[in-house]
């Protein structure tokens, strides 16, 4: 029997199957029809979304929940340009993702044909790598390279632009056996023992050490090694927003997350430590002041990162090592001795008691109350996604994470509308987990149409809308730094989210009073027939504290609502 020759699209889908792809988040269009046709006979489940941005955030949530690349399939022109925000989000947070775009036929490229766009050019700044496929015989190699690139070293999104004539033409190369051609790909370096020794020497003698863990700990699955190092040294551990889950927050050495809205005790530890050791964080501007010399003044700095370009980018560390965090820590742990940190730990513990994260349960419904109760009811075990803004910070403050791949939020890009679709992807990736999307009323409205997607697949996601009828974080800034001149932040015209959810066929609950929080959340958590929306109508005026104004140093932190007028921050945003 002669084997049927596959066309480009069929070989593309076969290659995806061979790479273990189970789900494709997609939206069709003319230029992508051959590829959608190939899915028809495939074992891969197509998740039809309602907007391409939703598809990218789903793939992102899937990738962060599983560690495997999420796959997106869209059409040319606007279909492809709608993925740009999702690509940026994944690129900023080092998330493995493959975005496949249909493209107009090769002969009309650059001739302003219908739904033709320079997708390669438009997306170049927001991808780890990209391809414009000119020959169907290149498809097996390109797919193999894409998976390798997106997941190796520092992960990131890869885009494959496939013209329709290429996907329709025969592909005669062997899809099971093809070689990659990546002479320029720098494989992650094997950690240098010399560098690790220098790290050990720099740590030696520290009396006030602080471990700072970032997303790199989650990506490299180094959480056990972090725990071992922290316990051996007797060093407190703080984490960046994306590092949460890399160290159990209920551990006595945890001081929670640091930075702009981090805990007061984490930021106090930053201001006072004599050694700060970043493991897979990039000293991002949410945690470091604009004048970098004000960051941990007097403290020695150590830095582990898999991306050599991160070393010396923001600050010049006293010791650094390029490589996988897990491998480096495994070598480092036997080289270090326990430090004399008794006084330091006493101090951090004292600060934890002195400046606890708190909220008042009375005086109207508080977002913090809802999130705190969610944490208690789920025993801190749920996978949680968010958008960006006040609700995101409150979630980071009041949901106590303890395992990696449990906390999925848009950190670097700060993408509104991320949380809900990311939860859909996460639920596909972790079907056994309780998945909760905590959204703001603003962010939810940016991608709410994916309610259809969640309903169709009966995904038991809990979508908690923290509705203060404002774009709260911007309003907070205007209140504090712009004389309360509220401009463009009033969400007047919000829909009735309960009715809205019901119209999509989703279950919906409403919480208005603090007394109802526990009861309603319990009902929602017990409902697993499909998605449910919990509309939490919180008080309008609440703000997130503590707060380190942008660009300021940790010691300039504002612990609670100020009574005097504040100066405009000089930092970034």
């Amino acid at each position: 029997m002669t084997k049927k020759t596959l066309n480009g699209a069929e070989s593309l889908i076969k290659c995806l199957e061979n790479h273990g792809v189970e789900h494709i988040f997609g939206y069709p269009g003319g230029a992508a029809i051959p590829i959608f046709d190939a899915i028809y006979d495939s074992s891969i489940k197509l998740i039809l979304v309602r907007h391409e941005q939703g598809a990218t955030h789903m793939a992102d949530g899937y990738a962060r929940a599983t560690g495997k690349p999420g796959v997106v399939l869209v059409t040319s022109g606007p279909g492809a340009t709608n993925t740009v925000t999702g690509l940026l989000t994944a690129n900023m947070d080092s998330v493995p993702m493959i975005v496949i775009c249909g493209q107009q036929i090769t002969p009309v490229l650059g001739k302003d044909a219908f739904q033709e766009a320079d997708v390669f050019g438009i997306t170049a700044p927001v991808v780890k790598h990209s391809y414009l496929v000119k020959d169907p015989n290149d498809i097996p190699r390109i797919v193999k390279e894409s998976f390798f690139i997106s997941a190796t070293g520092r992960p990131g999104p890869v885009l494959i632009d496939v013209p329709k004539d290429v996907s329709s033409s025969p592909c005669t190369t062997n899809i099971d056996d093809c070689d990659m051609d990546l002479p320029g790909f720098s494989k992650p370096e094997k950690p240098s023992i010399k560098d690790i020794k220098k790290l050990a020497n720099t740590i030696k003698g520290s009396k006030k050490p602080l471990l700072l863990i970032g997303h790199g700990v989650i990506i490299s699955q180094a959480h056990k090694q972090v725990l071992a190092l922290a316990e051996k040294l007797g060093a407190p551990v703080t984490s960046t927003l994306l590092g949460m889950g890399g160290f159990p927050e209920n551990h006595s050495l945890s001081v929670g997350f640091l930075g702009m809205h981090g805990t007061a005790y984490a930021n106090k530890a930053v201001a006072e430590c004599d050694l700060i050791f970043s493991i897979g964080s990039r000293w991002d501007d949410r945690i470091t002041p604009a004048k970098i010399e004000r960051f941990c003044p007097g403290a020695k700095k150590c830095h582990i990162d898999i991306d050599p370009a991160e070393i010396n980018k923001i600050l010049v560390p006293d010791a650094s090592c390029v490589g996988d965090a897990k491998l480096i820590l495994e070598s480092l742990i036997p080289m270090v001795e326990p430090l004399d940190t008794k006084d330091w730990l006493k101090k951090t513990q004292k600060n934890k008691k002195k400046y606890p994260l708190s909220y008042k349960i009375h005086g109207g419904l508080k977002a913090q109350h809802v999130i705190d109760e969610l944490c208690k009811l789920t025993n801190g075990d749920a996978t949680v996604t968010t958008d960006v803004g006040q609700h995101q910070m409150w979630t980071a403050q009041f949901y106590n994470f303890k395992r990696p791949e449990q906390w999925i939020t848009s950190g670097g890009a700060g993408t509104m509308g991320f949380g809900f679709p990311a939860a859909i992807g996460a639920q596909f990736g972790q079907p056994e987990q309780t998945v909760i999307a905590i959204c703001g009323d603003g962010g939810f409205q940016m991608t709410l149409f994916e309610l259809s997607t969640a309903v169709i697949h009966k995904l038991p996601i809990k979508i908690v809308i923290i509705d203060n009828k404002y774009l709260g974080m911007v309003r907070q800034w205007q209140e504090l730094f712009f004389d309360d001149r509220l401009s463009g932040v009033d969400m007047v015209g919000n829909p009735d989210f309960v009715k809205l959810a019901k119209s999509y066929g989703a279950k919906a609950f409403r919480i208005k009073r603090p007394a109802d929080v526990k009861k309603v959340l319990k009902q929602a958590l017990d409902y697993n027939e499909g998605p449910c929306v919990i509309h939490a109508e919180v008080i309008k005026q609440d703000n997130v504290f503590p707060m380190v104004p942008a660009g300021a140093a940790a010691e300039d932190m504002i612990i609670s609502r100020p009574t005097t007028k504040l100066q405009k921050p000089k930092g970034s945003t």
Partner: protein
């Protein structure tokens, strides 16, 4: 110093060995433009192994930003290596074509000058002369300064090309 000089104090020369593929130049340019860096000169040509190209880029600016730019270039999948070069262990050469206004009274003066800098006059017209000069960028800068009083009508510079001395690879 002439306005067109590429040998400023904060000038850096970067040499890259890259895959000879469409889009590579775009990605490298994005690394510069995202940081507000202007590329002063850029030379691209295929390497001996035609699957690769060699690039020499000169750019002016802060040393620390440039270190970041080189690292970000090296990180690109299609870039095999990227490094900064200094003249102590590499040969840097540039090529220039300069069209000078020619008047009967200064013709011999200009020709003498050309001879002095080991340039070559490659085209004459009634009132113009095109010179070819090869050498270090500084030398070309000097030639331009010297020719400016006579009136330079047009000029094309290749940009700096770099190759390392001895056996070590560029």
């Amino acid at each position: 110093m002439p306005k067109t000089s590429i040998t400023r104090e904060d000038s850096h020369t970067i040499s890259l060995f890259v895959a000879n593929k469409p889009g590579v130049l775009l990605r490298i340019c994005l690394v510069f433009s995202r940081r507000g860096f202007n590329i002063e000169s850029l030379v691209v040509s295929p390497a001996i192994d035609g699957r690769f190209s060699r690039m020499t880029i000169t750019a002016n600016g802060d040393k620390n930003v440039l270190e970041q730019i080189i690292k970000q270039c090296a990180k690109l999948i299609d870039v095999v290596h990227a490094s900064e070069h200094d003249s102590s262990y590499s040969i840097e050469q540039e090529f220039a074509l300069i069209k000078v206004r020619l008047k009967p009274k200064n013709r011999s003066e200009i020709l003498q000058l050309v001879q002095h800098v080991q340039g070559e006059s490659i085209d004459f017209s009634d009132n113009t002369l095109i010179l070819k000069i090869v050498g270090e960028s500084k030398k070309i800068d000097t030639c331009i300064t010297m020719l400016e009083p006579y009136g330079i009508l047009e000029m094309v510079r290749s940009g700096k090309m770099v190759i390392t001395k001895g056996k070590s690879e560029t």
